[in-house]
Structures are given as C-alpha cells and as structure tokens.
C-alpha cells in the first residue's frame, strides 16, 4: 500500500533523506529504529506533507496515488495518520470539538456526510475506552497542559477516532510509563487489521514486545541500511548501532 522509492528530502538546504526505500503492505507493522538525528522524524514529516521539507528526489506511492502530490489534509483524507513526536497544543479548542471537526473533514473528503451527533458520541465513547482517555481529558483544550504521557495517549485516541489506513507513530512510546505503554500498544493492536498498516518509530525494543513488528528497519544517515525481523531490535538493544555503521562503512 505504501511504496517509498529513493526518497530524498532536505530542510533549509541540508539534505536529510538520501535515497530511502521502504515498502509496506496491508496488515503489516514496520518498526523503524536508528540513532538520533538519522532522519526518522523527517521521514514521518515528509510522508505527512510538512511544507518545510523539500523533496528533492524519489517517489512515494500510497494506494496507487502519488502521495507527494497531495496536500497534507488530502493525505489525511486518503488515510495517512501521523502520531507526532511532539504533539501541538491548541488553546481554547476542546479535544472533542477538534476531533469532531477532523472526523467530519475526513468524511467530507471521502464524500461521506457528517456524522450524526449520536453516532459520533458512540464512536467517541468506544475509542475513549480503548485508550482509557478520561472524560476530563477529552473535554480539555487540545493537549494544553497535558503531561507528556497524556499527549501521547491523546495521539493514539485521535488515531483510533480517525481509523487510518496507515498509521505512522513517531516515538509514541517515549516518556510513557509502563501502564501507558501497554494502553498505547493495545490501542494499536485493536486497530490493526488486514487492511491497514503501521510504521512505528522507536528507540526501544520494549515497545516491540507489545506491538510485534513484521519488520525492523535501521535508518542511518537518511537511508534504511538494514532490515530484519523482530530479533534485530533485540540485537540493537544489546549492541547499539556501531556495528551496523561499521558494517556499511566497511562496505563502502
């Protein structure tokens, strides 16, 4: 469903992604790991269509469409969801109003009528339960004054509400306590189906005990330099990244 081919992107004249390849099929979970600054968030931002990043090469196909050709809100409409590494606060806008607007905008994009209030409330209740988001948080302004963990959980809540085809989670596990981690993971597992897929960016193999990936990729210096199974994550945890870096640098 997602095919990234030779993707190159830069920000402020600095090239970050340097020919990145990745293919994701429906029903799969891909973990992306890699040292700080290697370009993981950049990849997520480019997929979501952040303007500051300039794509200078390569292509991204998503469900037979040229993803790079679409505006960020159109990508969301097509079913791309990004759980932000640093979720943004929007003062004065209630979480519920925000997500209701989002749900209906996406429906509108797909030619569906806005959800009836009753239907929406039922949907909301169900998803709130899924990620154990308290009614209080649901009513507060979007992310305003939320703790780090609450913000991350709110991202998963929004993802659950929007039921995307491709969920990209950028370090959603960072800063979570063990209970929150389980909640987030079970949220993803509940949403997982044969029709959707997830790209999970993380530094910790811990998360992958709960969200079991089909593939683990190592992103280094703007490229995916190694791909393996779940065991690769364990190996990375144990040995760090140096051996991989040596491996590729030895090759070149």
């Amino acid at each position: 469903m997602l095919k990234i081919d030779g993707l190159e992107a830069e920000i402020e004249g600095k090239q970050i992604l340097k020919g990145l390849n990745l293919e994701v099929k429906p029903g799969e979970i891909h973990a992306v790991m890699g040292p700080n600054g290697s370009g993981k968030s950049t990849l997520a931002s480019v997929l979501a269509g952040r303007e500051e990043y300039e794509v200078t090469g390569g292509s991204v196909d998503f469900l037979e469409k040229d993803l790079l050709d679409l505006a960020p809100e159109e990508r969301a409409g097509e079913g791309v969801f990004l759980a932000f590494q640093y979720p943004v606060e929007i003062p004065g806008v209630s979480n519920i109003n925000f997500i209701k607007t989002a749900v209906n905008e996406v429906r509108d994009y797909r030619g569906l009528p806005a959800m009836e209030t009753k239907e929406f409330m039922a949907h909301l209740k169900e998803k709130q339960k899924l990620v154990k988001l308290s009614g209080k948080l649901a009513n507060r302004s979007v992310n305003e004054g939320f703790s780090g963990g609450e913000k991350k959980r709110n991202e998963i809540f929004q993802m659950a509400m929007l039921e995307p085809k491709l969920g990209v989670l950028d370090e959603t596990d960072s800063g979570l306590d063990i209970d929150a981690l389980r909640i987030v993971a079970s949220g993803v597992n509940e949403l997982k189906s044969s029709k959707n897929a997830f790209v999970v960016i993380t530094h910790y193999q811990r998360l992958l005990d709960y969200i079991v990936p089909d593939f683990v990729h190592v992103l280094y210096d703007g490229k995916i330099v190694k791909t393996g199974s779940k065991e690769l994550a364990l190996e990375l945890e144990e040995k760090g990244y140096d051996w991989i870096i040596e491996e590729i640098e030895g090759k070149s």
Partner: protein, 483 residues
Amino acid sequence: MSMSDEDKIIEEATSGEYKYGFVSNIDSELAQKGLTEETIRFISGKKNEPEWLLDWRLKAFKMWENMEEPEWAHISYPKPEFQDIIYYAAPKPKKEYESLDEVDPEILKTFEKLGVPINEQKALAGVAVDVVMDSVSVATTFKEKLSELGIIFCSFSEAVKNHPDLVKKYVGSVVPQADNFYSALNSAVFSDGSFCYIPKGVKCPMELSTYFRINEANTGQFERTLIIAEEGSYVSYLEGCTAPQRDENQLHAAVVEIVAMKDAEVKYSTVQNWYPGDKKGRGGIYNFVTKRGLCAEENSKISWTQVETGSAVTWKYPSCILKGDNSVGEFFSVAVTNNMQQADTGTKMIHIGKNTKSTIVSKGISAGKSQNSYRGLVKIGKGAVGSRNFSQCDSLLIGDRCGAHTFPYIECNNKSAKIEHEATTSKIGEDQLFYCNQRGIKTDKAIGLIVNGFCKNVMDNLPMEFAIEAKKLLEISLEGSVG
C-alpha cells in the same frame, strides 16, 4: 451546539467573498447632501420633533462646528467629506405598519437574505426585533408581549413621540453632545435608533435585538440608542449589523447610552460585520462609535461584549462609569482585522464609587496587512476605595505583515485600589496549522478553529444564537489569510 449548526457555519464560511454585499432597491426619501443648520431643521421637521429636541440638535451642531476631527497614531484614512454626505434617508412609504404584510416586500427580502429573524417563529424563539433599516424603523415585533411587562422597546423617534419625558431626561446624560467630534455630529443629525426602558424589578424575558443595516448609497448612519434599566431590572440587548458592498466610504457614527439604576443589570452584545472594503481596502465602512454605560447607583452592572470583524476603520471604546458603590463594569471584546482594515478599540473603566469592580478581556486578531490596537483606560477616582480592575489583553497575529498594539493607560488616585494587567502576543504557528492539516482539517477551517479557541472566554459571554453567528463571522473574515 448541534451538528447541523456547525455544518451550516462551515458551509457558509466557505462561500467566499463578503456575502452580505448586496444592495436592495428601495425608494428612499433623501435629505440634500451636506450639513448646515438647514439640514438639521429638515431632519427634525421630517420627524415632527418637538422644539426642545431641535434646539438640542442645533446646540450640538454649533459645538461640532468648533471641533476638530481627531487624529490617532495608529489609524490613517482619507478624512470623510462631511459636506458630501446625505444625512437623512427614510424608506418610503413612511406610514406605520400594523403587520409585516404591509411592509415593502423588497425590505422583507433584504432581511431574509440577511437572515434577520423578523418572522414570528424566530421571535418566538426569544428574539424581539426592532429593525432599523437605513434610518427609520420599519417593523417592530413582539412589542405587545413586552408592553405587558411595562417594557418599552421602540425606535428612538417613537420614544420621542410617546415618552418624551424619559428621552428628555436621559438623552445626552451619559454621552454629552460635546463629548467628542463624532458624538457631537451624531447629536446634531441622528436620524433614528432604538429606545429601551425596563421598569423597576422587571427581568426582560427575551433578548432584545436590533439589526442595523446601511443601505442607501452615500448616506451616513447616525443611530442613537438609549437603554434605561430601572432598579432591580435586567435586560440583554443584542446589536448586529451587515452592510452592502460599496465603492465609496461610508461613515457611521453611532451613540449608545446605557443607564443602570440600583441592582440593575444590562448586558449589551454586539456583532459588527460591516463591509471592511476589498483586499486593497477600497470601499469599507468608517465606524466611529461612542458607547458608554453609567452604573448610576449601587450594585448595578453593565457588561459589554463585542465581536468586531467589519469596517475599514473602527474607532470604538465601549465604556463604563462606575458611579454607584459596588457597581460592576465588564468589557469582553474580540476584534479581528484582515487585509487593510484598521481597528482602534478598547474600553474605559471609570471607577468612582466604593468597591467598584471592572474586568477587561480583549482579544485582538490581526491578519493580512491590518493594524489592530487595543486602547484602554482604567481610572480610579479618589473616592473609589477598595476598587479592583483586572485586564487581560491578548493579541494573535496571522502572518507577518500585520500589527498588534496595546496601549493600557492607568490612572490611580486611590491607594487601596487593586489593578492587574496581563498581556500576551502570539502567532498562529505553522506547527498548529500543520497539526490540524495532518488531521484532515483544511487551513481556512484550522484558522477558524484556532482563532475561536483563542477567543473562547469572550465568545462564551455571547448569547447562544449570537455566538453561532459570531463564530461563523470569525471564520469568514479570516478566510484566505494564510497561504
């Protein structure tokens, strides 16, 4: 708010250019262009006014002739040519109407386009409408129900005819003729407006609402509103307006006076969306308004809530004179400027009585190349023991070609008074917009959402039906302000 309300807002918000920019074809009776003593005699004569009112007008005119049009640091515009303005226009025929069926269908159509809730259904929903079209009230609804309670709600002209003592006693008592250049002009030439009297102990059961509309090309609008709330009474008054699209600048200089007696409360809400001019600033309304409330006796309360999105130039400081002990003044304001609009608004809170309290919450939003200034005065008199003021002025910038300015003036003559002032300036961030976009929300709507969030604690003060319109207006007025 129900879903369908929001959807309607959204739909209307996306319908592009200033949608109230149409002109209706109503035959009007016009005064000659220009301003002389003759003009004033003509207006007064047309309206069959008593001698005292003519004298009052003429006195104001003399004062005005000797006044200079004010200049402000943060507003610039070509000065109106006062001799080029038609000072009186009344829809024809001028007879009184028993029912709406008798009203010119053109007028009714105009109101329909505006969505004025003039029909009974809407009135039943809690809004009695005193419609001011151009200068003369053409229709008044639900007067009977109000009159059962002893409430007088009518056009200013009718009040002059039927309640001359009240008018004579209170007109100019809060805003004297010579208060400023524009109030003097208004006092000389005001054509009509609204009058509202709430007797002792009566809580007005519905929101009283007046829709103003500038309709006649080149006709200055000089409305005059007088609200009197007797002891222990309560009224919530709504003012809202739209205007047709024009090429020439149109001047509006209204005066609103409110008097609140012991334990009385007046809530005055405005949604102002007059034509702001096109993207280059051509053809917008000049809006110079003097609004002032007097908390005349103890425990009285006057609350101004305004949402200002329109006009090319706005100059407006709804104020409270807190004379009665323990009286309360409030000012909640949202002022939006886009493109070439200029707004200089704020409030004055004059504390005279003991333990008087005032609250100011001002939210300024600037986009395009607009300039948005808050100017506020908090004055604590010598005798205002234990008085308190809290001011919060927040500015939100959209883009980097606009300006926001805050000018808080404080004069404190009593050491026991407490004055608190908070101010912030922020920008709608790329981060916020991208976050919304990523969730599927288009940029225009995202701005509407963020701005409405920014204004929330002001909007919460508006009556329900007004809040919906105001939210919609915020979205419309900022359309296309990013990207």
